[in-house]
Structure formats: C-alpha cells, structure tokens
C-alpha cells in the first residue's frame, strides 16, 4: 500500500514508470493472505463447534433417555405403554400405561394455554399498539419478572389461594385439581407469550400500520387486521414457547394437582403429569435400577417427543407464514 499516487504529479505519467508491484511485495501479500485465511477458517470452525454443541446436547439427552428406558421396554411392550389406561409402576400391581400422565399433561397444558394465550396476546397487543411508550418500557420488564418467580411459590399460591377461591364458585371442586394448577401455570407463562409476541408485533414495519390508518382504520382494527396477521409467525413462536413451558412445568403441578395418575380429561379432577412424576420419583424412595426408576426415563422420553412434535409444528408454521413485509 505504499502511496501509488504521491509520486505521480501529473495524471499522464505512463504506466511503465510507476507502480508495478514488486515480486517481493507480491509474495509478502500472498503469505499474509494465507495466514489470514487460516485464521479465518479456524475461527469459523470454532464457532461452528459452538453452534453444534446444541445439537450434541440434544443427542446426549435423547441418548440418555433411550439408554435408560430400554430396560423398561424389555419388560413392557410399546403397545402396552401407549394403550394401558393405568400408570402405577410403583404399585404392587404395576401398570405402565403412559396415557394417564399424558392426559394430565395435556389437560394442565390446555388450561394454562387457555389463560396465557388470550391474556398474553391481549397484553402484547395492548403494549405494542395501545400503551404509551413509557408504560410499555416500564411494564414489560416488570411482567417478565413473573416468569422469574420460583415455581414453588406459584405452586403454593395455587394450592392455598387459588383453589379455595375456586371452591367458592365450584363447591364440588376437590382440594387438588388440574384447574387451579393450570390457571396459575397460565399466569406464570403470560410473560413468555406476551413478551415474545410483543417483540414480533413491534417488528411489523410502521409503513404497514400507516397503510391501515390511512384507510381510516381505528387502532383496534389496525391491530387485529394488520399487525397481528403480519406478526403471525412470531406470535406462533411465542405460543409454541408457551406450550413447551406448560408441558414441561413441574413444581406447580407437583404441589397443586394432586399427583394422582388418572386417565381423565376433566380439569376439575386431580391428576399427575409427566414432569411431576419425574420429580416425585427423583425425590423418592425407589431403589435405583428398578423398573419403577427406569420408568422416569421412559416418561422423560415421552415428554421430549411431545415437545419435539410441538416444536416441529411451530417450525413448520413459522416457515409457512414467514413475515414478508
């Protein structure tokens, strides 16, 4: 890079006079180039390894779950696992039907979603389209704190506050039920849903809103007819995240839902979920290596498969409805 222009005072100096790059300069540059390339490749490789570590984690999870649950499946056929209506691996009369846990998981998830999806979405719309800037900036982090409250606290909140309240309305409600666990879980998940969907809505470019307002639309019309559809893929991602959180939530259900694996779809009954079964056993008295102990890995595997299915649906939705502003 020596100054090729400084020594040429007039523009019509001929080529031959000036800067033919010396061979020494050329080879220096070449060497520099090679080391630069090497470093770049190295950096890229290291970064790739980091990105790949997430895949490795998933592999490790699946491997451990499969490895540990194989002994169970030697004992219990997959058909039995999926169709037996009873889950009593720890009882004398052991049954290994995962369905009661799955139903409990789905019902609590359903109840939670019926709280957090509408409320989360409404809050997101409110914050992104209605609330003044200041309100949004203060409320959002505050709301996110809800997600940081230890779930044990929520569990007791469900058991000691929410259930008695519900019992005032529904006198027949048992003291342990999926309804109150699900409701509280829903409240806990609200910030996950609202925060991510609000981000998605705010990413909708202003010119789309301007287009709508210019047609004489009100805020509500703009929000519902233009902003929400445009941000759909982001909102779907928020829902999927909410579902995953609900499916995997442990302590709230373990405390408030009654830990009773029954195959029921009624939210007013008590039940057990996959994850609460796992902590129960992890805390318990069971001899390790027993079939009952292996059952937690089988349950974990089921849980993993469920979240995987939800996430693949989510990924597909996201692809299908990718924002094209």
């Amino acid at each position: 890079m020596d100054n090729k222009h400084m020594n040429t005072s007039s523009p019509d100096t001929t080529l031959s006079l000036t800067e033919c790059i010396s061979s020494a300069e050329a080879s220096r540059r070449l060497a520099h180039k090679r080391s630069r390339h090497l470093k770049e490749r190295l950096v890229e490789f290291v970064l790739f390894l980091a990105a790949f570590s997430s895949v490795a984690t998933t592999f490790a999870i699946v491997a451990i779950l499969v490895y540990e649950s194989i002994p169970l499946f030697k004992h219990v056929s997959l058909v039995e696992f999926l169709t037996d209506p009873q889950w009593t691996p720890l009882f004398d009369d052991a049954h290994f039907g995962i369905m009661p846990l799955v139903s409990g998981t789905l019902v609590t998830t359903g109840v939670a979603l019926s709280v957090c999806i509408p409320m989360g979405t409404i809050i997101a719309i409110y914050l992104s389209e209605f609330a003044p800037h200041k309100v949004r900036e203060t409320v959002k982090p505050f709301l996110e704190l809800l997600g940081a409250v230890p779930t044990v606290v929520f569990g007791y909140f469900a058991l000691i506050v929410v259930t008695p309240l519900l019992q005032k309305v529904m006198p027949d409600l048992p003291g342990f039920n999926m309804l109150s666990a699900g409701l509280v879980m829903g409240i806990m998940i609200i910030p996950y849903v609202s925060s991510v969907s609000e981000d998605a809505m705010r990413a909708v470019p202003m010119h789309l809103r301007e287009g709508s307002y210019a047609m004489g639309a009100t805020r509500f019309q703009t929000a519902v007819r233009v902003v929400v559809p445009s941000a759909f893929s982001g909102i779907a991602a928020a829902y999927i995240l909410g579902i995953s959180r609900a499916v995997g939530e442990t302590m709230i259900v373990a405390i408030a839902a009654g830990m009773q694996p029954t195959l029921t779809w009624k939210p007013t009954e008590s039940a057990s979920t996959i994850s609460s079964y796992i902590v129960q056993v992890a805390l318990g008295d069971l001899p390790h290596g027993s079939i009952g102990y292996q059952s937690i890995f089988a349950a974990g595997l089921t849980l993993m498969v469920m979240t995987l299915v939800f996430n693949i649906i989510g990924y597909w939705l996201k692809k299908r409805f990718r924002e094209v502003y």
Partner: protein, 306 residues
Amino acid sequence: MQQSVTEIRRLIARHKFWDYVFAIVGLICLLVGILTLMGLFAQLVADGAPRLKPHFFTSFPSRFPEEAGILSAWVGTILVMLVTAFVAVPLGVAAGVYLEEYAPKNWLTAIIEINVTNLAGVPSIVFGLLALGLFVYQLNFGQSILSAGLTLALLILPIVIVATRESLRAVPGSIREAAYALGATRWQMVSNHVLPYSSSGILTGVIIGLSRAIGETAPVITIGALTFIAFLPHSPISGQFPFISFEWLKDPFTVMPIQMFNWTSRPEEEFQLNAAAAGVVLLAMTLAMNAVAIFLRYHIRKKIKW
C-alpha cells in the same frame, strides 16, 4: 357516492367504542399479571419480614427456624450462576454468531436451527435427567457446583443463542458493508463491529437467561443437590501461586430454590417464614439482575441509534 360526513361520524363512533373496550380489556389483563406478581411478592414479604435480618444472610441452615439462614444457599447460587454464565455466554454467543454471520444455507445449519428452537422448549426436568446421567455419573463431576452450573448453562444456552441472533440481526447491513469495504475480513467485521454493537442485546438475553436459571428447582433437585450445608465452598482466591483456585468447582453446594423447597416441606410452620424470606431474597436477586439489564440496555442504546 361518497358517504356523508354524519354517516362517517356515526360509523367512527361505533368503531371507536371497540377501541375503548379493548384498551380496558388490555389494561385489565395487564393488571391481572402485574397484581398477581405484586400480590405474591407482598405475601412473601409479609411472611418473610420477621426473618429478613442481617443474620439470615450470614447464617447456615439450622433446625431452629429463627437461627436458620441462607449463607450457603446464596453463595452457592452465585457460584453456580458464575459457572453457568462462563459456559453459556461464550458458547451461546459463538453459536449465535455462527448461525447469523457464518452459516451457509444447508441442511446442517437447518438442523442446528430447528434444534436450537427445540432445545428452548425442552422441559427443564429433562435437563436434570441429562445432567444426572452425564455430568454426575459419566463424567464423574458428582453433585458439585460444576455439575449444576453446566446443567443450567445447557438450559439457558438456547436463550443466549436466540438473543445473540436477534441483536446481531439488529445491526444494519450497511455497517457490515462499510467494514468489508475497508478491507476487513469476516472475523474482523464480526469482532470489531457487529459483536460490540450488539452487546447490549446479548447482555439482556444473558441476564434473562440467568434469571430463569436462578429460580430453577427441578433440574437441580434431579441431580441431587444437597440441602444441609453448613460451610462455604473453597475460596476462589488462594494464598499461594497462582492465587486462583478452582477447587470450589468440585465442592458440594446448595442453592436458593433448593433451600426454599426444603423449608416449605418442613413440618414446623415457622419454617414457612424462612421459605418466604428466601423467596423474597431470590426475587430481589432476579429484580436486581433485571435492573442491571434495563440500565445497560438503556445506556448502550442511547449511544447507538441506527
């Protein structure tokens, strides 16, 4: 042909009614969330207030509720969070940078991407199972600070990756082009520009991740965290050369949520107060972390406006 003005006005009045209705509904929903949080917090404070004295922070657990404290728990929590941050941040940021700035569009990166979103949805209890099998037994880390930190690091890895990607994406392409146009290599572009400019977003993501990790109970229970620990881990600073010791990584530990969980399941009602007080402290720790995040976001963003 054109609607009369009065007609238009009537129409607008009708539509605006829904604006008001929705604004009120939105506000109510917001209040439900906020009030629940405030209610919970107030309840915890009311219950825990008698315990929130200095010695609560400087005492070890005890069978006497008034004497019991959270010293080993908060120290444990901080050390575990340190490990978590030290592992999750470099790994997550590097992965985010790879996916956003380097990754070619092929099946492998597609898999990594699906996998990251999937991992974000894996229930934390499953991470506990992984850690039990892998860290505690296969790698023989035992029930140590290291195991817990690694477990939680894996748990928040997707959060860090996603936050990194989002904030990298917020850096305009013109900055990248400017750097390249001056002859920068890709890594120079990333390390000199894109990464520093997105640091506030990344930091926010890290803190959100950590505040999720700090309250996690289930996975730490699964790896079998201890509950009664009446001593502190080894000090990270040693008297001899090289003055830094990593022995604490292998030390047994307890963390705040575990201590809280232990207290809630005690027969003596007095211990419920301890649990509430521990809850207050835990929430305050999270609150403080979030405050730091907000502060940083505000201050760094003030300097950078695209």
